[in-house]
Subunit: 340 residues, 2 copies
DNA sequence: AAGCGGACAGCATACGTATTCAGACGATGC
DNA sequence: GCATCGTCTGAATACGTATGCTGTCCGCTT
């Protein structure tokens, strides 16, 4: 080994007086290597600061011990503002990957990019974690392509049976119902919904459906005029709340499809002279870090991002090992703070 | 090529009636391949959905087209809560990596882990981006080790000449001075500082120094009793503010070393019956997303995370290509909102 | 004493790409 | 008509690891 070069398994072998395959086996813990030999090899490897070359190893074994995490979002074309709920999940995913011996390749994708073919085909990762809302027609086509390619993947989202792949998601309908029941218990009668109600955003749609369920159970009418489309951003929430106000229909509560929307709504409400929760009670969704810091602190439906990240990683690893997996629906939790 | 297997450059070669090396050259844009041949090869490659195997490519070339991003932090042992300012930078880093043709391997590290040897030695990445505050003695030792190993790296932090490596950082002294001058202009006289003032956290220390400069320039005294240690978290900020209040020294302004600290301080102040900014004016640092959403919206010193991320990536790529780099000090910007 | 099985280690090779060197071919100059 | 040059392509090989197969040595059985 020339000085300055990284040591290889051949270098270790020469120093230990064995062959290269024996080094490989010893370091991988193969039982056919005697304990004495293994200890000797391990000592030398440590001393030389030898690390297995992951590229050579991956090439030979055909797997990389790496997962790829793909964010993709409609409303953030510059890539600099990632949905805070997803960022929270990132921490948990990183943590779990580390514990399971996987590396994580992280990427932010435009919806237009070729994310559906790039990662596994080029053997950079053994599997994909998909995190994002978005244009669902296109999304669906790409998911089908992933399946056709035999790519291993899991995704966060709604368990729509029309879309393939193992899904980890939150029980959005239950969450919406919880939010609705909470507001009804607080004596609110005109409950508006800020969020998309179409099939393009199934999570948002299901939260609306949950709200509708709660209204029906309380024999309250469902007024379509109290639903305003909004994407998950503060600006969009602000905008939606202003449009709601402009409609002139009376309301005394808002259920927002995400905390970001709720935060924007607070701004619009305060600006219009309405107090929260005095004039309008407000419930968000996600429990992002900013929710508890906002003024007033936001009542919200918490999604368990820590558990979600853990499940996503573990399910993906199961799929990579060709074991069967089934979708998981996590129960949301109502967190009552000052906004309702 | 057996059906179902991923195509290799040999498969393309056979179909195009050329040899494997020609395929490799054609797809890499080598000029020695005639245009006609290249086009034919490209067409076939596209049709078969062929992608270069990154592992084989990396093994042969000795470089991976991958950068590794290492978060490491003292106060977040569970790995689930990453400093929000760093998360903001992540978006920018991801974006820039994509634009430069690099992948990003993301990892959250305990300070105790062997991050300093793992990544480049195992050839998973061509270089390291280090993002974190922390125990500086240990940090420094590890940086030296990186240099000794010849690992390419850049880090975000303070440009302390005692620490090796190319640094991208914010001009913390200028930021602290801006904050101090702003509060002085607002007529405040008792300006407290919440944040570490020791050498273990150079960023925080420099912000305090900047504040001290502003005070001196205004011929105002510097009272050590108005400095309280705090780490960058909401809980620590809350705690520090309570300790400040308990000291019984009069103050009418707080400069917090980070927005997270400032948000905690708001909670403690409101709890103690003090109004912001009426009784106490408050300035934070970072301009994290929650800063503008807080109540009152936080006056703060903005760090340009978008530019920072871009610089970190570009500098690292320069280092990998063995071109010289020099540290960069980004100017902070005072953002006046409602808390001061 | 011959045969047998288990424990261990080495030989050879495959993974898929990128690069060096050499060769083929046609065109040009004298 | 022969040498020369430039353009393009192919043969061979290296990168470092992991694994199937083979071989050796030893202790044990029959």
């Amino acid at each position: 080994m020339a000085s300055g070069d990284k040591p290889t398994s051949f270098d270790i072998a020469a120093l230990a007086g064995v062959s290269q395959p024996t080094v490989s086996r010893a370091l991988r813990g193969d039982r056919t290597v005697s304990a004495a030999t293994r200890l000797r090899i391990e000592a030398i490897a440590r001393q030389l600061n030898y690390k297995v070359d992951k590229n050579a190893s991956a090439l030979r074994r055909g797997s990389t011990s790496t997962l790829a995490l793909l964010f993709f979002e409609d409303p953030a074309p510059d890539g600099s503002r990632i949905n805070p709920f997803f960022l929270s999940m990132l921490g948990s995913i990183l943590h779990t990957c580390g514990a399971r011996g996987y590396d994580l390749l992280t990427s932010f994708q435009q919806l237009s990019a070729d994310w559906h073919v790039d990662y596994e085909d080029s053997r950079k990762a053994d599997g994909l974690i998909l995190l994002g809302y978005g244009d669902f027609d296109d999304y669906s086509r790409r998911l089908d392509q992933l399946v056709a390619q035999g790519t291993h993947f899991v995704r966060w989202g709604s368990a729509d049976p029309a879309h393939p792949g193992t899904v980890i998601g939150c029980d959005n309908i239950a969450g919406g119902r919880d939010a609705g029941q909470h507001l009804i218990e607080r004596g609110r009668r005109g409950i508006a919904f800020l969020g998309d109600a179409s099939n393009h955003y199934p999570e948002s749609r299901d939260r609306y459906r949950g709200l509708a369920q709660a209204l029906r159970m309380a024999d309250m009418p469902i007024d379509p005029g109290l639903q305003v489309d909004a994407l998950s951003s503060e600006a969009s929430g602000y905008d939606a709340a202003r449009r709601l106000i402009a409609r002139g229909i009376a309301f005394d509560a808002i259920f927002a499809a995400s905390d970001m929307i709720a935060l924007g709504a607070v701004r619009a409400l305060v600006e219009s002279g309405r107090s929260v929760p005095g004039d309008v009670a407000l419930v968000g969704f996600d429990d992002i870090p900013a929710a508890s810091l906002a003024q007033p602190p936001l009542t919200t439906i918490r999604q368990d991002y820590a558990r979600a990240g853990e499940l996503l990683v573990d399910m993906l690893i199961r799929r990579i090992n060709r074991r069967d997996t089934e979708p998981a629906l996590l129960p949301p939790e109502l967190v009552v703070r000052k906004s309702s």
